[in-house]
């Protein structure tokens, strides 16, 4: 008997603001503990929240990118629970009146083709602080730097049918959010977190099985692995005659297994109610439309545009995976580089530099200059790659670097002519053989001239001269 897997995902993305959701503290990542805190985000007596307009703008853009309806009125609500890193004893979130609802995200599933996932809601909330359990023996150390950092929570419908689909959905979702400019979506820095709900049911069954929640996954690959493990666990349990309990599980990446949280499960009773410190969030319809109009091209549209300009689907996919990469590509194109040449560079050396530095040490215009040198024959492709490596480290123009490294190709006819004459004089036998019809010897002559020139001769310039002299 076969089993069907049902998966829904809840993701939290950190909105890319400079200051926190309800206070002016910095959101900088990696600062010393408790250095970005104030009366508001520490929950001191008497402190009150004031909403960061930029966070609302970014959340709105993300919601529109996901095709959600953004509501003119939404309500901040308090989610009440006690936890050492939750300073006020409640989290300011949104409950029955979220910022946005009813979106849709599509992806290609290996098993089912094109799949549409319903986005139930996107709401805005504040993050909690961070508890460190291994810092001081017997104590929990709490850092409130993250407390109050703005988040958007995005909840999908139970629309995925396999761990691989969950991963594909996440990839598309991440790309959309990054395109909207709302978040950097970095799992390493905690600006993207994924919680998954999974249940299984017999094929053909329409009711949902009991679901469990899986947490603590630090990459999309691990989301897939964790869900594979949980699916297997649930199926084994049911096939053994057992039942699935509604629990929260943590993924152990090293072991590749999931295990229930050690904490005793309590029925959560968050006692949500509208936060009386915050009036309703009211957005003008005009403003929402402005945000919609300002949205960038979707990743899919951009990929199509690149493909129609002659790029392979592979190149178009790689370049549009991240909006910054695609933007860089556009700048290189605008600087006059042909599409496929640009794509070769970007998916090669530029990508390597990007992965290593997280940025573009060689600006689009400098890359275009370099490509120009290569295309006009002033430097060889091999030399261009050496120059690129040098450009990463300096601000020098490409031409200066080429000169400094002696990589400029010699194209003046006189210099080439002299070298050719020398080589022909030194190899009379080969000249005879060529003239007798051994035309493949042309390669030999080119090689000798290149060698004589110390690699500086432009091979494209040598050929016609050689041909003429050998006639």
């Amino acid at each position: 008997m076969s089993w069907e897997t049902v998966i829904g995902l809840e993701i939290h993305v950190q909105l890319s603001t400079r200051s926190k959701m309800f206070c002016g503290c910095s959101t900088a990542f990696g600062d010393p503990p408790n250095t970005n805190v104030c009366p508001v985000c520490l929950g001191l007596p008497g402190a009150l929240p004031v909403t960061n307009g930029r966070a609302i703008e970014l959340a709105t853009r993300a919601a529109l990118m996901l095709g959600c309806a953004v509501h003119e009125v939404s309500i901040f609500a308090r989610k009440n629970y006690f936890y050492p890193d939750l300073p006020k004893g409640y989290q300011i979130s949104q409950f029955d009146r979220p910022l946005a609802t009813n979106g849709q995200v599509e992806f290609d599933s290996a098993e089912r083709g094109r799949v549409a996932v319903h986005i139930q809601r996107l709401h805005v909330e504040e993050d909690a602080g961070k508890s460190l359990h291994d810092r001081v023996p017997g104590r929990t150390a709490v850092d409130f730097n993250r407390s109050g950092v703005p988040l958007a929570e995005i909840v999908s419908g139970p629309d995925m049918r396999s761990p691989a689909e969950a991963r594909a959905y996440l990839t598309v979702m991440r790309q959309l959010i990054m395109y909207s400019g709302a978040s950097s979506c970095s799992m390493e820095e905690g600006s993207l977190r994924v919680d998954a709900n999974l249940s299984v049911r017999r094929a053909g069954e329409t009711r949902l099985g009991t679901k469990t929640e899986v947490k603590n996954m630090n990459s999309f690959a691990n989301v897939e692995r964790a869900l594979e493990a949980e699916r297997a666990r649930q199926i084994a349990l049911l096939e053994g005659g057992g039942t699935v309990q509604q629990v929260t599980l943590l993924f152990d990446a090293a072991a590749g297994t999931v295990h229930p949280t050690r904490a005793k499960e309590e029925s959560h009773d968050y006692r949500y109610f509208p936060d009386p410190d915050l009036p309703p969030l009211v957005l003008a319809p005009d403003w929402i439309e402005q945000q919609r109009a300002a949205l960038p091209e979707t990743p899919a549209a951009r990929r199509e545009r690149l493909e129609s300009s002659g790029l392979s689907p592979y190149h178009a996919g790689v370049i549009t995976a991240e909006p910054v990469l695609a933007d860089y590509y556009d700048r290189v194109i605008n600087a006059g580089v042909p599409a496929r040449t640009a794509a070769n560079w970007i998916t090669g050396d530029v990508m390597t530099a990007f992965n290593e530095t997280g940025g573009f040490p060689v600006s689009a215009s400098r890359l275009a200059d370099l490509v120009g040198l290569e295309r006009e024959g002033s430097v060889s492709l091999q030399a261009a790659k050496r120059i690129f490596a040098e450009l990463r480290e300096t601000d020098e123009p490409a031409l200066d670097v080429a000169e400094r490294l002696g990589l400029l190709q010699v194209r003046e006819e006189r210099a080439l002519s002299e070298w050719i004459d020398e080589i022909l004089a030194a190899h009379p036998t080969e000249v005879e053989r060529f003239r007798a019809g051994e035309s493949k010897l042309i390669g030999f002559f080119v090689g000798q001239v290149m060698k004589r020139s110390g690699g500086k001769a432009d091979p494209k310039g040598i050929q016609p001269l050689l041909q003429a002299k050998l006639k």
């Binding site: 008497g46 004893g89 410190d277």
Partner: protein, 466 residues
């Protein structure tokens, strides 16, 4: 006009006297701090130009309004010794206007009470009768103004906690429109009801303080984007003014002394030319029950932050962090605070939310609608007793929470509706002060103060009414 130094010295002497009298109205003050306040006031006066409207005022501040140079305890064991790293907006504004902070005053713990008997640091006594309560929860501030130690004081209201003690003590109690005065730095109790409110020896004293502390504050999202309130116009008489007497505020069993005092006020209003008409606010009887859901529900959430983790007096319990929470909160909060947290938690919890919290919200909307209707029908102001009885005896109601709550029956509707309201003395009954309440339409605080000032003058001297 006295200099700030003279006022500071006189205030210190008065605080020493009220201390010696056992009023127990203050929780913190010192001569040294008062001297520093006076020096600051002089500096404001030298450099402040028009900014020194409160020069010469020493203002007592309820101890649930945070200050950096004195502790803020909310009269709770849990916050004993807590010193805020920032000042409330109202404190900064008082000082900027040239006022001196006189002291921090005693209150019912976290402002939960109507008699100032629920202070962890002992009850406040009524200045005229030590066996009676001054009202609450701002009883310390009320008592100090009544005892003449200060001309003005800040209190706070969630359900009448300034007007009720003002009435008991025979001083002016002014609750501005919700959103008129910043709540930033007022320790939250029921945030949708909370307001910084003012005691004055006279209407003018209260109006001056309101002028200094009102106006938009970007740190409070509920603060209305309006400039500071100007000084109210001085009116000649009340011709053309229609004043409503809501019949629900004049029950048959109203204390006869209170009734006589309010009647004296009504006669004076008529004498001044006002048209006085009977009106009805039919949902009044739901005000106290609605209040005792909404306020505790919000309080249960507002007081969750007192967990012993980041500040406050911590009790470790045995073992894990939950033990710490339960011990800190169980021992740190007094019985009335614990009761309200439990009621509020219960009202918000799964299965009860609709029956209690939502029902209370519905009642609140109906109460606000009652007011809107009478004001839309051409009533300019409402006039009522402030309290059903004069100051009661200490211990009378401490074992019966509901009886205590009913002391707020006439004052809490204005908090539910967010309206400006004021209590003004109208005489005495058997030696105890009687207050009458004026309630005005939203943001018509100025009109209310103009009428109160006229009434105050007409009723002078405040004598026995019965």
């Amino acid at each position: 006009m006295s200099t700030a130094r003279e006022v500071a010295a006189a205030t210190a002497a008065a605080l020493e006297r009220t201390g010696a009298d056992g009023l127990n109205a203050t929780l913190h003050w010192s001569r040294e701090l008062l001297d520093r306040e006076a020096a600051h006031a002089d500096q404001v006066r030298r450099t402040g130009g028009t900014g020194s409207t409160l020069y010469g005022y020493a203002v007592a501040v309820k101890d649930n309004i945070v200050t950096t140079d004195q502790p803020t305890t909310c009269a709770s064991r849990l916050l004993e010794g807590y010193v805020s790293p920032y000042n409330a907006t109202v404190v900064d504004r008082l000082r900027a206007a040239g006022a001196m902070i006189a002291c921090k005053t005693n209150l019912d713990e976290f402002a939960m009470g109507s008699s100032t008997e629920h202070s962890a640091f002992g009850r406040v006594k009524h200045p005229l009768d030590p066996d009676r309560v001054p009202g609450g929860s701002s009883g310390g501030s009320a008592a100090l103004v009544a005892a003449g130690a200060v001309r003005a004081a800040l209190g706070s209201e969630t359900g009448g906690s300034v007007r009720q003690p003002a009435s008991f003590c025979g001083v002016v109690g002014l609750k501005p429109s919700y959103g008129r005065v910043s709540r930033y730095g007022l320790v939250a109790f029921g945030s949708s009801l909370d307001a910084v409110a003012i005691f004055g020896a006279t209407v003018d004293d209260a109006a001056r303080v309101l002028n200094a502390i009102s106006g938009h504050d970007p740190l409070d999202s509920t603060s209305v984007a309006a400039p500071p309130m100007g000084r109210p116009d001085a009116w000649e008489d009340l011709s053309g003014i229609r004043i409503g007497l809501p019949r629900e505020y004049f029950p048959a069993d109203l204390d006869p002394g209170v009734r006589a005092g309010v009647d004296r006020g009504i006669a004076a209003l008529k004498e001044l030319g006002a048209e006085v008409v009977d009106v009805s606010l039919p949902h009044t009887k739901y005000a106290v029950p609605a209040y005792y859901i909404v306020a505790p529900a919000e309080a249960s959430s507002n007081l969750a932050r007192y967990d012993g983790v980041r500040y406050g007096v911590r009790h470790d319990g045995e073992g894990d962090v939950r033990a710490l929470y339960q011990a800190t909160r169980g021992r740190g909060f007094g019985p009335e605070v614990r009761r309200r947290i439990l009621v509020g938690t219960y009202a918000l919890s799964a299965g009860y939310y609709d029956a209690y919290y939502l029902k209370a919200q519905q009642a609140r909307a109906l109460i606000a609608e009652d007011f809107r209707r009478v004001f839309d029908d051409g009533i300019d102001l409402l006039f009522t007793p402030t309290t059903p009885t004069p100051a009661f005896r200490a211990g009378d109601k401490t074992d019966d929470p509901v009886a205590m709550y009913l002391a707020d029956i006439f004052v809490c509707p204005a908090n539910l509706a967010g309206l400006p309201a004021l209590s003004v003395p109208v005489g005495r009954s058997e030696g105890l002060p009687i207050g009458a309440q004026i309630i005005a339409p939203y943001f018509r605080d100025s009109r209310m103060l103009s009428v109160a000032a006229l009434l105050e003058r007409a009723l002078e001297p405040a004598g026995e009414v019965r």
